[in-house]
Assembly symmetry: C2
Homo-oligomer: 319 residues x 2
């Protein structure tokens, strides 16, 4: 794939930014002297924890929902992501006044179900297995005609997530490196594309939990390695790369830095304490990656995308 | 006191803003749809939790330290506030490269001492009584010639704190009400003065813990009522009003709204959850006051000063 073969061009991303502009928040870009000292570079943080529904996921979900034809939209949308994508899709559907169906395993934490329902989604329970999930989603689609919106392996989603990096480049010029976390790769591919198209000299580095290093291994092997174990505090990053996201990452990402669970918690706590913002563990993965890679990033202008801020305040990973 | 008799004029506050401009952070003004729904008004939040040293206190301390003559400054500054003012004064002194002495009771939490020391202050321990504190401070002054910087009853401090409201009015126009917490009254008097001078039609309301409602009772009685009990989670608000702050509050504050401990914790948790920012209980007092007073504030444009974000993450008031 050459530059001209990227699945999206800069105009696509700009058009997406315009499409979601009335709904998505142009999030703050913050910095902190103390954090810079800790990281050894000049970091700016794109605060997607301030995004509607508390995570960057709203950008992609909103773009997907607003891109539907009226005939499609009226039949609703469906997903079986019970995390931030589920909440984001529900909110985007609510804004278009169409139904959202979220398929959730019967053993999902009540707090997650309550969050998705608080945005107005219809929750359909299923047995906690991948096949039950797919079957249940298929049943919802058959009954309603709703459109399945994949959480990351969808160009509308990737274009939506790319708008975060686009705004970051617009608001913080001359970044030398942009860092974000990688799970299924929607944010990672969007960030890599936006960065490549907006400023080809700027490198993209991804942070990934060591415990779920499938993206790291995929890059080394040159093919998608599926997630096997998924025991990490960064619960937004437990998914395998997709057919659309992997080649973009392969082409436009400089490197993946893996971080331990302890490093994730340390970075999360450091950001809470010094920046006074609430970030979720997945966001902290990107910060921890910058810290871990600090010898090579020393003194550089680094943009970090803080992916979200949805945490359970009753179960914090310290104390 | 009439408008012409205010102890500071708008030019004083503007000059203060310029003096501290190279050091203090012009903090973000954030808003949240969800929080607006909860409060029933159009609220904007001045994020002094993002201020240097994590609280608005840096503004006043910086103004005081930068206002000293070189001959005064070289002998250093001293305070016996072990909270945010102590840290702020230490940081301001560090920036002017002069010594800061902080007198702390021997039973102060180690985390507070560590915070003050992390900004480079010399900590002098004393017995945990008011008289020991005063004596120890007097001893430091006798030995060093350092200048005592009162945490709130000092015009340089009040002018410094006033710059937060000045920026708020500049960045969020046409506010109908500004709300901040009241302890000793430095922030409250500064906010009231800046608001009166910048936009005389805008009212100022203060939030105060019911458990330490000395300011509320002082306004009713027409004279300073000292703090008696001081059992509140809002540990920044346990001080009595001062001779300088009380008359300003008396003249320019519309009303004081007192809130329960449960209301403070509820507001704190709501802001953390919905706005993804870390605020300390004293900040939450202002938010809780808006919520409590929501019938009279319905639909209004309300500016809320979030005073700080210094909390002990190992001891949160929930869960």
């Amino acid at each position: 794939m050459t530059a001209s073969q990227t699945p999206l061009c800069l105009e696509d991303i700009r058009a997406t930014a315009e499409r979601i502009g009335p709904f998505a928040r142009r999030t703050s870009v913050l910095s902190s002297r103390r954090v810079n000292e800790w990281l050894g570079c000049k970091a700016v943080f794109k605060c997607e924890n301030f995004q509607r529904t508390g995570a960057f996921k709203f950008r992609g979900a909103c773009n997907a929902v607003m891109s539907l034809s009226d005939a499609e939209a009226v039949r609703g949308v469906v997903t079986h992501s019970s995390g931030n994508h589920g909440a984001a899709l529900a909110e985007a559907a609510r804004l278009r006044r169409v139904p959202a169906h979220v398929v959730m395993p019967s053993n999902a934490p009540p707090v997650k179900r309550a969050a998705v329902e608080s945005y107005g989604a219809n929750v359909t329970e299923c047995a906690p297995t991948p096949s039950a999930r797919e079957e249940t989603a298929a049943r919802v689609i058959a009954a309603t005609g709703a459109t399945l919106i994949h959480p990351y392996d969808d160009l509308r989603i990737i274009a939506g997530q790319a708008t975060a990096a686009l705004e970051l480049h617009q608001d913080a010029s001359d970044l030398e490196v942009v860092v974000c976390p990688v799970g299924g790769g929607g944010l990672a591919a969007g960030t890599a594309l936006a960065t490549h198209l907006f400023d080809p000299n700027c490198k993209v580095i991804l942070g990934e939990p060591q415990a779920v290093d499938d993206a790291y291994r995929s890059l080394r092997l040159g093919q998608i390695v599926p997630v096997e174990s998924a025991v990490t505090i960064a619960d937004g990053l437990k998914t395998s790369l997709g057919e659309l996201t992997f080649p973009v990452i392969q082409q436009h990402v400089e490197r993946i830095v893996t971080v331990s669970e302890a490093e994730i918690v340390e970075a999360m706590r450091f950001v809470w304490t010094r920046m006074k913002i609430v970030i979720e563990p997945s966001s902290a993965v990107a910060v921890a990656a910058v810290r871990k890679h600090r010898d090579r990033l020393a003194g550089k202008r680094v943009g970090v995308i803080l992916s979200g801020g949805n945490v359970d305040l009753d179960h914090l990973p310290w104390g």
